[in-house]
Each structure stands twice: as C-alpha cells, then as structure tokens.
C-alpha cells in the first residue's frame, strides 16, 4: 500500500498532455481526467509493490491490451490523498491468431479514501506474446 496525493498542478499538466481544455481541470479543486490514475503506478508506486509471484514478464514481448477505470462515487479531486493497493489479478493463456500462446495478465489497482472507502479502481490488462514484436509494424 502507498499513498498518492492528488495535486492540482499534476492534473493541469496531465490535462494539457491529454489536449483537454476543460476548465474543470484547471481549478483549485480540479477533478481528475478519467485516465489520470495511471500516474499512481508510474509516478508514486514504490519498487517491488506489485508481487508477480511466479509470473515472469519479458517487457520486449509485452503489449498493453486494455485499461479500465471505475469510479464508485464522485471523482477524485485536487487536494485529496488516496491510499493505493496493487495486486495481480487474473492470468490466463489463449492461442494467438498467428501461432503461439498469448498470456493475458491483469493488474488491479484500488484507490481508497483516508476513511477506507473504495473510491476508484484501475484494471490494466497486459498481453505477452510468444514472439518478437515484428508483427505490429504499421
């Protein structure tokens, strides 16, 4: 578990990068853009937080498959601090269309208020291919 302060300046910076001019993202109590919670694992998560168990990921063969964000009530706002837990979700294999197995790996992030209420969830699905990425050229 680690904590993630929701910062006004970071929301503003993220909204600019997302080309979102909405005034809701540039206010003292700015609301987070829907994909903002991604910054938790990329900017705040301590090394070793995610326990992969016996799963081995080869980052040269890993693609980003899906991403899901669920907000259970009002969206997080600047000034709040959330407690984040990260865990390995489902792991399963499927035959790939071009031969070899695809391994699907889900990583679940849960965001709670200081009082312990579940505020939001993020589910990342990674896909590990069985071969090098030359099949994904333009």
């Amino acid at each position: 578990m680690y904590t993630m302060p929701i910062e006004r300046g970071k929301i503003r910076e993220f909204a600019r990068a997302a080309m979102a001019p909405d005034a809701a993202y540039d206010a003292p109590d700015a609301v987070v853009p829907p994909t903002f919670l991604t910054t938790a694992s990329l900017s705040w998560e301590p090394p070793g937080e995610l326990d992969l168990g016996e799963l081995e990921l080869d980052l040269r063969r890993v693609l980003h498959g899906e991403e899901e964000y669920v907000f259970h009530g009002p969206m997080p706002r600047a000034g709040q601090t959330l407690a984040v837990t990260t865990r390995l979700g489902d792991v399963y294999r499927k035959p790939g269309r071009r031969g070899g197995d695809l391994t699907f790996v889900t990583i679940v992030h849960e965001f709670r208020s200081p009082s312990g209420e579940l505020v939001a969830e993020q589910r990342t699905t990674l896909v590990q291919t069985s071969q090098a990425p030359d099949e994904v050229r333009p």
């Binding site: 979102a20 909405d22 853009p33 994909t35 669920v70 030359d134």
Partner: protein, 145 residues
C-alpha cells in the same frame, strides 16, 4: 426563456473531435505528464533497435484523447467507468478522430446514467482504440450537439 437540453437517447452521437497531426513532442509531453518513460516512445535509436521503423505513441495518450473527447461531450465530473482496448499502434504524424455513440440510457438521481461506445480512428480509417464509458449526466446537459 430558459431552454433545457433534451435528454440523451440510444443512438445519439456527438460531433467527432480530431487531434493531431501527432508530433513527437505530443508523445514526450504525455510521457512526462504520466511518468511513462519507456524509451520505445521517444528514443529513435532504441525504437529502431527493437525492430520498429521509428518511435510510436504511448497507448495511454490516445486513450486519454478518447477520454478528453468523452468528457467534453458528457461532462468532466460524471465519469463512472471508462474502458479502452488497444487495437493498433499510433505513429508520429497520425491524425486521430474520436467519435462516440450512446448505447444505453437509464434514469438516475437528477439525470441519466448514459453508456457510450467510443472509437479513436487513424487517418487511414483503421481503428487505434475502442472504448466504452458510463457517465452520470445531470438533467439539462444533453451533450454538446
């Protein structure tokens, strides 16, 4: 006289929004804002050594553009669920068009719960990202169209 936007209905669409042509600077700006510094998205030599013709965009950038489109349509405050699936890579120079369509509506406290399907398409017509979202839309906000 006050006017009230009509409620959203299944099949409603929004004006599509176009982003780009995407520059390497756009990709780097998103890398910095998100914290995703995988060199494959900004280091030309690294991308080539990994077998790619050049750097390619961060999937979450085009996912975030789709989210920008959706929140401009249905409101920044009311997101309940936002899901994306990555279909195809996006490259520098790409022009991305985001569009959406209402797939389900149910009444909610002081408004509607609106489910939409979302698509981010490259200039050649191929689909880069698909998504779905659920928004709580307050009464009187019928979207931007």
């Amino acid at each position: 006289m006050t006017t009230t936007a009509p409620a959203l209905a299944v099949g409603d669409t929004a004006w599509s929004t176009t982003f780009g042509p995407l520059t390497r600077t756009d990709i780097v700006r998103y890398a910095g804002a998100s914290g995703d510094f995988n060199p494959i998205h900004h280091d030309e030599e690294f991308a080539r050594s990994a077998g790619f013709p050049t750097v390619f965009s961060i999937g979450m950038l085009q996912a975030s553009l789709l989210a920008t489109f959706a929140t401009q349509w249905l409101g920044a405050d009311g997101v309940r669920r936002f899901t994306v699936r990555f279909r195809e890579q996006v490259w520098p120079g790409d022009v991305l068009t985001c569009s959406g369509r209402v797939t389900a509506v149910e009444p909610a406290d002081d408004g509607q719960l609106v489910e939409v399907e979302l698509t981010c398409t490259r200039q050649n017509g191929s689909v880069a990202v698909t998504g779905t979202a659920i928004f709580a839309v307050p009464a009187g906000r019928g979207g931007d169209d």
